[in-house]
């Protein structure tokens, strides 16, 4: 195979990305084609971010990048260079109590297999950071950006409504 072969060029392609993940500095070496989702999972071991379509449709891979909820399967890892990323692992540290959103999800039976859950949590975290006093119609609209095959969404909607009431978003609150 010649050095011009795209496969050979790809093999030689390795880029260092430096970013902040869950409030800690992180570095990863990736191919330019690597998605942020794959990089978080494979390079940093943050496997809470799931991929279920890799086409931007299902929302399972959602993380926060510089405060925006984004689909990590659609963002290249190199595009996140210098960014602040928050993943599901950053909502509540091990040993700490669950984040009020996570607590609401278990209280309201908003998850079954749990595969779609991390992405939903990040979207809801973003929603409730920006919005207080949401109603069911608004919640359904936002949640409709995610596919969940197990729950039928009713528990998820109720969990978001509970979290909106329960999460004290005064400045300095954890992960706020």
């Amino acid at each position: 195979m010649s050095p011009e072969d795209p496969l050979v060029r790809r093999a030689a392609d390795a880029i260092t990305v430096a970013l902040t993940v869950n409030d800690r500095p992180a570095r990863m070496i990736v191919e330019s084609r690597t998605s942020l989702a794959d990089a978080l999972r494979d390079e940093l071991g943050l496997t809470g971010t799931h991929v279920a379509c890799e086409q931007g449709i299902c929302g399972a891979c959602t993380v926060e990048v510089d405060g925006e909820a984004v689909r990590a399967c659609l963002l290249l890892a190199v595009q996140a260079d210098g960014a602040e990323v928050r993943t599901v692992e950053g909502l509540a540290a091990p040993g700490e109590p669950l984040h009020p959103i996570q607590q609401a999800f278990t209280d309201q039976h908003a998850l079954q297999c749990g595969f779609c859950t991390p992405g939903l949590l990040m979207t809801v975290h973003h929603l409730l950071t920006e919005r207080h006093g949401v109603d069911e119609a608004e919640v359904r609209t936002v949640v409709s950006g995610h596919l969940c095959r197990c729950t039928g969404y009713q528990g998820i909607v109720d969990a978001v409504l509970q979290a909106d009431r329960a999460w004290d978003r005064t400045p300095g609150d954890r992960a706020g």
């Binding site: 799931h50 449709i57 599901v88 209280d107 039976h109 297999c113 595969f115 859950t117 359904r140 969940c148």
Partner: protein
């Protein structure tokens, strides 16, 4: 059953207990297959057929084999093995052996032809594009009626028909001849797919020293997969160990062994490194087994007063390319015919069942199996009869449903409904959506409202007897083990993994109900064929609560009896005086904590001197009698006659699954199945074009319902405990998926009937609902 209550009279049974598994999953600490690849593993990408039907003339892997990061490329010729085949013994059912990789012929778009093993999935996918397969295209077989006339997919079979059966009750013809009315219709259910959010995935590791092949898999049936792998690879059962951790949804698709899983096992046995395969969404949509596609002709004979006399069906099931290794091509059409009478008293039935091969992905179980299609067709027909007779659809059903006094009731198809609340659930569901207030026809804003109601029976909790009443002889029993550690904590070991049903919580509640201890003191362990007792059928057929639950109740009672012996010795009382309360063994003269008893059983020499076997382990086997849950789904829809858009605006599910272990989990199962049912009725379509290519290759084409497609669903539980199963438990996971498509289809049919539009199949497409031009 002994259910021992705590001091307040409460039992863990029936508690709305948040799930123990949630914390891990919410913190992103789940362990799905892709989350924990084995060290040094090779990643697989399959080369898949772009043709629906073709002969394979040549496979050239030279270029792919030398691509960067590629370790090997395998084709059918490289790894001889025993092909997959179903284990169903029904006279006349034709077997269609299926190899792990297609060798001579491909029979559907997406069938695996070669597998690339490389250092990463990306590298493997790059190289898969370099595998050159030369095909000689053959005609696709898309229409199941035409399949009978076309050359067979497997020349050795002689025909594309794999099953034809006929069964009439003796009075069928007379009932039709004497009936005042006969209402008939032809209905069909499109192809669906389970679409679990985690697709299929497995990792296999072979130890050449011990000869042990370990396969971690996203499966519903670890023991079944163990049997399939051992058979295909010619290994002893004990040389194959199947592990299961978290499974990101299954819904039936992960019951059978996938050919790809066999290919991964074959590759790993020959490689000196572990092999990992995690399918992507396109693979899951086109190559994983589908569900449902059926064509149902029905005729209902009625008396002038609306009494049902007889129901006849002719069911044609489209099995796809193989009669799959799950429960064969019969999983759809045959089961649909068996549940033909549903929740109604219909004295005579007749059925014809045919199942044919087509060049599509094979059909496997998908929640509700064949019952969904048969049920949907019957409910649409009953509504059609109601319209013809000028009867209210609720009232016509009320007149014909199984009544309390009829129970136990045996259908002409051989199912005995042991108990239930068929009429009561109908009345409640109708009331919850205010059926009486729904006026069909245009609303003020020009939309058409329609009401649909769909009372159901779910053959549930399959042990072997239940399986036999529904279908065929089928080993469907389980064993369990319960043990108490010296700390007083209990471990319950079962062979049925969870795909989100919450077994870690609900099974703990059952065990705790017997010992009257905190369910948090019970750890449920599963997912390792080397350590868990045998579950012949795995997690399917709404059977875990009944079969595993019943086995656990008995094993825990046996453990309680052992604890009573030790406690009796320690307290100096007759063990028969001991009861359990608040985590303690209690006698009139005093009490002792479970931890103290368990510690003494291990460490106290006086216990060993007094009791021959003071071990705190108990096992039980359970193969329950058949049981049937029931309930009713009611919905209200609004149809925009200009665009054909359907909105489900109100819904209720009233269900009765006997003794409820955890109502929150039952709600979750019901709501999830309801959503899938709405998807089946209105959105989801895994159909094929006339050229044999799949229409749905991404979630942009295969439309799952979203939160905005669904109304808030009112839920109620009635409890008619099963008279014959342990604990009165019935199963329930599939119910709403059996009945919801029918409820939605009936509601849409009612809404558009005034426009002269009829509904004969699901999914209902918007363009079919737009009133025909004058």
């Amino acid at each position: 059953m002994i259910v021992v209550r705590d001091a307040d009279g409460n039992s863990s049974l029936g508690a709305r207990l948040p799930r123990f598994e949630d914390g891990r999953l919410l913190r992103g600490r789940g362990r799905f297959i892709a989350d924990d690849p084995p060290a040094r593993c090779l990643h697989v990408a399959f080369v898949r057929s772009p043709h629906p039907h073709a002969l394979i003339e040549d496979v050239d892997v030279t270029r792919a084999g030398s691509a960067p990061g590629v370790v090997s490329v395998l084709t059918a010729a490289d790894r001889p093995h025993v092909p997959l085949v179903d284990a169903v013994a029904v006279p006349g059912l034709v077997k269609t052996p299926q190899p792990a990789l297609a060798g001579e012929r491909v029979r559907f778009v997406g069938e695996a032809v070669a597998m690339v093993l490389a250092e990463s999935r990306a590298r493997a996918e790059d190289a898969a594009e370099l595998v050159e397969v030369r095909y000689a295209a053959l005609a696709p077989v898309v229409d199941p009626e035409a399949a009978l006339l076309l050359p067979p997919l497997d020349p050795a079979l002689g025909s594309n028909e794999v099953y034809r059966g006929r069964r009439d009750t003796p009075g069928l013809e007379a009932a039709f001849a004497e009936a005042d009315h006969v209402v008939s219709g032809t209905f069909s259910t499109g192809r669906l797919t389970a679409a679990p959010m985690e697709g299929r995935a497995c990792a296999a590791t072979f130890d050449p020293v011990t000869g042990l092949l370990t396969v971690r898999c996203s499966t519903q049936s670890p023991h079944l997969l163990q049997r399939k792998i051992a058979t295909c690879l010619g290994m002893d059962l004990t040389a194959v160990r199947v592990l299961v951790d978290d499974v990101g949804g299954g819904f039936g698709q992960k019951i059978p062994a996938s050919p790809e899983e066999i290919a991964v096992a074959l590759a790993a046995r020959a490689a000196d490194r572990p092999v990992l395969w995690v399918e992507d969404r396109r693979e899951n949509l086109v190559a994983a087994p589908h569900g449902k596609e059926q064509h149902v002709e029905l005729a209902l004979a009625l008396d002038a007063d609306g009494t049902f006399r007889a129901l006849r069906c002719d069911v044609l099931g489209d099995a796809g390319a193989y009669s799959f290794n799950s429960a064969s091509a019969l999983i759809e059409a045959y089961l649909a015919a068996g549940l033909l009478p549903g929740a109604y008293r219909i004295p005579e039935t007749g059925w014809r069942v045919r199942s044919v091969l087509t060049t599509k992905a094979p059909i496997a179980p998908y929640r509700g199996v064949g019952w969904t299609s048969g049920h949907t067709a019957r409910e649409l027909l009953i509504d059609r009869a109601a319209r013809l007779l000028g009867r209210d659809p609720v009232d016509l059903r009320r007149q014909n449903l199984v009544r309390p006094g009829d129970l136990p009731y045996t259908t002409p198809t051989g199912m005995t409904y042991d108990s239930g609340s068929h009429l009561a659930t109908l009345e409640r569901a109708a009331k919850l959506v205010d059926a009486a207030d729904v006026v069909a026809g245009p609303t003020a804003d020009g939309r058409c409202r329609g009401f649909g109601i769909s009372p159901y029976v779910e053959p549930s909790g399959w042990g072997s007897a239940g399986a036999a009443e529904s279908s065929w002889s089928f080993a469907s029993h389980d064993s369990v083990r319960v043990e108490m550690a010296a700390s007083g904590a209990v471990t319950a070991v079962v062979g049925t993994p969870s795909q989100g049903q919450g077994h870690t919580t609900t099974l703990a509640q059952l065990v705790a109900s017997v010992l009257a201890c905190d369910p948090r003191r019970v750890r449920v362990v599963t997912g390792d064929t080397a350590g868990t007792p045998l579950s012949t059928a795995g997690t399917r057929a709404s059977r875990v609560a009944t079969v595993i639950g019943g086995a656990l109740l008995q094993a825990t009672e046996r453990l309680a009896a052992k604890l009573a012996l030790v406690a009796g010795h320690l307290l100096g009382v007759d063990p028969a005086e001991i009861s359990f309360r608040d985590g303690r063994a209690v006698a009139a003269s005093g009490s002792i904590g479970l931890a103290e008893i368990a510690t003494a059983a291990v460490a106290d020499p006086s216990v060993r001197a007094a009791l021959p076997e003071p071990d705190l382990t108990a096992t039980a086997f359970y193969d329950p009698p058949a049981t049937y849950s029931n309930g009713c789904v009611a919905v209200v829809v609004e149809v925009d006659p200009g665009t054909g858009r359907v909105d489900v605006v109100d819904a209720a599910v009233v269900e009765d699954c006997g003794t409820v272990i955890n109502p929150m989990v039952v709600d979750g199962q019901t709501l999830g199945a309801f959503a899938q049912g709405v998807g089946a009725a209105l959105y989801e379509d895994a159909g094929y074009g006339a050229d044999g290519s799949p229409r749905a290759t991404s979630f942009a084409d295969y439309l799952l319902p979203t939160a905005r497609c669904l109304p808030r669903v009112a839920l109620e539980h009635l409890e008619s405990p099963a008279p014959h199963t342990r604990g009165g438990i019935k199963g329930m996971g599939e119910s709403a998926m059996i009945a919801t498509p029918g409820a939605v289809a009936c509601a849409v049919a009612a809404a558009v009937a005034p426009l002269g539009v009829t509904v004969t199949h699901i999914p209902i497409r918007p363009d079919e609902l737009v009133a025909p031009e004058e």
